[in-house]
Symmetry: C2
């Protein structure tokens, strides 16, 4: 038997990034930047006002003989426009947030610190404003290049593009973005006992849950799933499905990789590819296979649905993330308190499905019940896998164990 | 000014779940179950073998006069088939994992605990097998209904459908699933200074980052974004855009909701809808509006891109999640250590963008630099918002503060 870590290392050694493609900005979310993003312009492109108020010369804001400075309003400028007027001594220009600072002004005072002057003869007097506070040069002015400078590396290759990165790319004018493309993942179920989801049960048959679970998990990993259906336990059927599968970036099969007599999948995989069939020191999920059909990597997950679910998380998800250019490929672990303990007599490392939540500043784990590898309900409400080590010791009530946190963001694989 | 909590409460009070629709199982991921799922069948539907091995009567496994029991192999049954043979005393049926337990057998022994018997005269002797270990009744048998029983409520309405729930639904034959449908969210930018992402900069203009950032954030929240472009600062333009927007479930605008003279958005919103214009005790993001155009809720976010980003997270995202039937609608908070401290002299509550990571078992926060509300680079590498309370006290170096963890899963709003 090999350890989970050994299996994962062996698999990941064969996985490299997919090629770079260019996508419209709106389609880049969740993908990884393939190249550094270097600003071609200063952002902001021009000095602009941070407030609604008046642009003026700072020396004009000083009170005069104990009274507020009174300035002549020479016009106004809104965001999106450029003032034609020049602010000369004794004048001010009404300015809105985001508008470029007009020539001649070196500061902006917010409207709340001013008072309009009503004129007794509106037709002959020009509008005036009283400046109620002295302001220093540069007040309320956002300088050109204050955010990003021309030539600055703003985002680096390898960055996952989230909504906030999209905002930065839009600001810089990147209408299309170079990214590592999504993986296309073929999903193949095996077994004569499998019928499709919309079929009524017949004697001896069960429904195809693995293919749908894997399809959803692939989608959640950000890749594009292609469900190829179920290969029947005949050579012809398997060969035909594999012909389709090799047009993808990754093949995931479920079932057919353990020791039984009728595991034709194993036979075909051995003939058509270079495969290794492992027994991994883990429960659920001992039989896992890995290899290639031609140049396409293939991960063979066990047939038991809970084993499929757990081995996907431990092996397939990191493969997909690595293919898609991510640095952070595995889920983090955290120490959790298992209130009821876990009496465990298995010799293989046990990944116990559990619901973990914060209680008074600590992470507390509640296993989901019957942990049999065919018990789908053990997957309900499970956001973590509590690890019971392979030395055969149980976790006492109130004891601490490490848990894989399935809905926290990924972290880098420790080297 | 009103607090963030007050604004959020007022908004959410108006928000209810969207209607239920039926979707194919493959399209259900990330959506919320609209009805309880009750098993219509026992799962497993039939008692089946957990191992590859032999089905037999348990009393036939006892050694006989010191030698292993030797049984006559009467046939074999693979997963997906039903044995025609009956296991009578002295006989065993070869059985594969998942195959139904044949009539007459009450236990299964794994193949590793048996030994085939080679016959000297293969044509006349029937195949035989030696049973090397005594096994109790029920060994290696998965009972019918052991996972789910007919009539059992397996998943409850309100459950978010992840890959593992998809597996359970597939097992139960739910080819289509009743879910709360996705929200259609109209996105409208405002401002004459805004040009589109693929345009070269012109004097006084900046690019439309808000609409792309909001679009990506809406998509990440699981809703369907509809970008309506930028409404120019004219009544006609705004009216025309709102006509389109009211066909959606939610409208999000950016810009135009603060005190300035040229904020026609405010004028139109007041005329066409019932709107409230708030000043929220927060930085960035003080001016936020909320109301309805007809029956469609509208959230008016500030124009500054960082303010847009942060107010989306605090106000719009919980609205979308609540509309889509989620119970867990807000991001969790956790205590973080701010190594360098945050010297803060603002009177409004400050949401400092920071990168938080685990260091030796503690969460440590590193603010992202210049926190100006127009500084897009303050959004880089930010996975948390460190909260500096509104009492004006700073956070000393090494001090602890609460942080909103932006990439952890949501939690319920405390009542």
């Amino acid at each position: 038997m090999i350890s989970v870590e050994e299996a994962r290392t062996r698999i990941l050694k064969h996985i490299t990034s997919l090629p770079t493609i260019s996508v419209p900005l709106s389609e880049a979310i969740g993908l990884v930047l393939a190249r550094d993003v270097i600003a071609q312009e200063n952002i902001p492109p021009f000095a602009n006002s941070a407030m609604d108020g008046f642009a003026l010369k700072s020396q004009d804001s000083r009170p005069h003989e104990g009274k507020p400075a009174r300035l002549r309003i020479i016009g106004e400028v809104a965001a999106g426009y450029v003032a034609q007027q020049v602010v000369i001594p004794g004048t001010a220009l009404r300015i809105m947030t985001g508008a470029p600072v007009p020539e001649g002004a070196d500061t902006v005072i917010q409207v709340e610190l001013t008072q309009s002057v009503s004129s007794s003869e509106p037709r002959t007097q020009e509008a005036q404003v009283d400046i109620l506070s002295e302001v220093a040069p540069g007040n309320n002015i956002r300088l050109a290049g204050e955010d990003m400078q021309r030539g600055q590396t703003v985002l680096t290759a390898g960055t996952e593009i989230g909504p906030w990165e999209i905002g930065i790319l839009a600001t810089l004018g990147w209408a299309t973005v170079p990214v590592i493309r999504r993986a296309r993942v073929a999903i193949l179920g095996t077994g004569d006992e499998i019928i499709d989801v919309d079929q009524p049960l017949q004697p001896g048959k069960i429904r195809n849950s693995n293919s749908y679970l894997i399809e959803a998990a692939v989608r959640r990993a950000g890749a594009e799933p292609i469900r190829l259906g179920v290969a029947r336990d005949t050579l012809a059927s398997l060969h035909e499905k594999f012909l389709q599968a090799v047009t993808c970036d990754l093949i995931i099969t479920s079932g057919g990789v353990s020791v039984g007599d009728f595991d034709l999948v194993k036979q075909v995989l051995t003939e058509e590819g270079q495969m290794e069939f492992w027994r991994i020191n883990m429960r659920p999920g001992k039989p896992v296979a890995f290899g290639h059909i031609g140049s396409v990597p293939l991960i063979g997950l066990p047939g038991n649905p809970v084993s499929t679910a757990v081995t996907f998380e431990l092996f397939a998800r990191p493969v997909i993330r690595k293919m898609q250019g991510q640095q952070r490929i595995i889920k983090p672990q955290a120490p959790v308190i298992v209130e009821q303990g876990i009496p465990d007599r298995a010799s293989r490392r046990h990944y116990v499905r559990a619901h973990v939540e914060w209680q008074q500043g600590q992470l507390v784990a509640h296993p989901t019940g019957n942990q049999g590898s065919h018990i789908m309900t053990s997957l309900r409400n499970a956001n973590a896998l509590v690890i019971v080590p392979e030395n055969g010791e149980s976790i006492p009530p109130g004891g601490t164990a490490m848990a894989i946190m399935l809905d926290w963001p990924e972290v880098e694989l420790a080297q």
